[in-house]
């Protein structure tokens, strides 16, 4: 395949977006019956389900900690979520991303409220179109809130980066593949801090400043959407009658 021109002469991108524009985002809370909390997120072509089980008794027991809950997180992609079928089981990429996403989320959950227990989070990417780890964080933090787990903050995630010589927000799969740099982040607006921070590709420190500012703005927009998704679910929510 020939390398596509990522920035058109009029300064817009392949899909017509401006450099600082997010793709369309849709989110819904409480979408899976059997989990304790769940969320569904569409971010451009990326689609992800997240579910939370717990806090519950830790199995196997020897992994329990007397002073706090243990957060376990699995980031996983469906075999059909990508162009060439992904082999079953966890790839090295999925193992690494499970680690960094878990580390981001465990820093905003009040784990010490639930000693000896585990909180299990599953993020399943059913379609991948760039920004899947960020989408997984955005959805997982909604699912945790849906499960009623006390948290310092919701975590919105988005990537910024550099494509066709320009610093842009929210890279699509194509832009990530042919671009110069990809910087996925998750930011807590309340802590004013980075919880997930990765950068792959070449960027000068000056370009980093630009990319960082874009990611920060993108995160605060997604944060608003997260709050609205929770409000939509619970403003009119009436718990079912006990029978």
């Amino acid at each position: 395949m020939k390398e596509p021109v990522l920035i058109k002469p009029d300064g817009t991108r392949l899909d017509g977006r401006k450099p600082d524009e997010l793709r369309p985002i849709k989110m819904e809370v409480g979408v899976l019956e059997k989990s304790d909390g769940s969320a569904y997120l569409e971010h451009g072509g990326t689609r992800v389900f997240a579910a939370v089980f717990g806090p519950k008794e830790m199995h196997p027991k020897h992994l329990a900690l007397p002073s706090r809950a243990v957060l376990r997180l699995r980031y996983h992609m469906a075999s059909f979520s990508v162009e060439d079928r992904k082999t079953l089981g966890m790839t090295r990429r999925e193992i690494e991303l499970s680690k960094v996403i878990r580390e981001a989320l465990e820093s905003v959950i009040f784990l010490e409220e639930f000693p000896r227990s585990s909180i299990d989070v599953f993020a399943e990417i059913v379609q991948a179109d760039g920004g899947t780890r960020c989408a997984a964080i955005t959805a997982s933090s909604l699912a945790l809130a849906d499960a009623g787990i006390p948290m310092l903050d919701l975590l919105p995630g988005v990537a910024s980066g550099k494509i066709g010589g320009k610093v842009v927000l929210d890279l699509s799969e194509l832009e990530d593949k042919y671009g110069e740099a990809d910087m996925p982040v998750a930011i807590s607006p309340r802590l004013d801090a980075a919880l997930l921070f990765q950068l792959n590709g070449r960027l000068s420190l000056k370009e980093f400043d630009e990319a960082w500012e874009l990611a920060r703005q993108g995160c605060s927009k997604i944060y608003e959407m997260q709050r609205n998704a929770l409000k939509n679910r619970y403003e009119t929510y009436k718990p079912e009658e006990e029978t």
Partner: protein, 276 residues
């Protein structure tokens, strides 16, 4: 499921250590007598394994890494038909630390391998197009495998050094295309690296930074970050590699310090590694 969780518990002694390290940092001091930006003693020996095409033994303080390069002929990836293949593997050997266990690679081991992979790949140090022999069909496959031999904190930076040292001193068997067929030649060739990617790991305790954390310091950190820069000072790869959070106003400072310290590490590399 055990592969997807962290079971670290902040013990009482770790909390004491956290406060002690912070107090020292406030006076620009550290447990082992270093100042906050000091990097431990770096030693690099290359060509330590004759059977490997390239190899290096690197120590940074008490942390020791051995890396080897092997090559083979294989098929280029279908989406990169004009490029050779480059893969990195890491293993945290059980002999290096009582906290490393035998068995399938841990999340930490996978993360380490992938950070080193990205540091070299994203810096575009290797001209992968030069490693393609017949587009879409035959190309060199370069394996960089490294092992943590002794673990005293921060295995990231010595691992990047070991991988780059082994690659830049490797002598690969040369193949030539004759009538569409590959012919192995007597002579060897070197992969000349276009830049020298170097990483620096920085720990954070509250608002204070410390470069190249030792094992004792590592357990007391609030969070940490590993950043790789190329010889021109561009960022190639960054990863927040532990729990906790990095306040906005400190992130840029951490990257600026990392960049500044990579110059020192690259200086040691140039001093100790005879390229070619």
């Amino acid at each position: 499921m055990t592969a997807y969780f962290s079971g670290k518990e902040p013990s009482f002694t770790v909390r004491l250590l956290h406060d002690r390290v912070y107090e020292l940092l406030a006076e620009d001091k550290r447990l082992d007598g270093r100042t906050p930006k000091d990097i431990r003693k770096i030693d690099i020996k290359t060509n330590v394994i004759e059977k490997a095409e390239g190899s290096a033994m690197v120590s940074m303080g008490g942390t020791r890494i051995i890396a080897g390069v092997k090559s083979d002929i294989g098929q280029p990836f279908s989406d990169r038909p004009n490029e050779g293949v480059f893969t990195v593997n890491a293993e945290l050997l059980p002999l290096a630390s009582k906290s490393f266990e035998p068995g399938p690679p841990s999340q930490e081991g996978v993360e380490l391998a992938r950070i080193v992979d990205r540091s070299v790949r994203e810096s575009r140090a290797i001209d992968l197009e030069k490693l393609c022999l017949i587009p879409g069909q035959k190309a060199y496959v370069i394996f960089v495998d490294f092992y943590v031999l002794d673990y005293d904190g921060n295995y990231f930076d010595p691992s990047v050094l070991a991988a780059v040292a082994a690659l830049s001193t490797a002598k690969l068997p040369k193949y030539e295309v004759v009538n569409g067929q590959l012919e192995k030649k007597e002579e060897t060739f070197s992969i000349s690296l276009r830049t020298t990617p170097v990483s620096v790991t920085i720990g954070l305790i509250k608002d204070k930074m410390l470069v190249d954390p030792s094992l004792a310091e590592q357990s007391s950190l609030d969070t940490s970050l590993v950043a790789t820069f190329d010889s021109e000072g561009n960022i190639c790869s960054v990863q927040k590699n532990s729990s906790g959070y990095i306040p906005m106003d400190l992130l840029k400072n951490m990257l600026t310090v990392a960049k500044e310290r990579t110059d020192f590490v690259r200086g040691r590399f140039t001093e100790l590694v005879k390229v070619g």
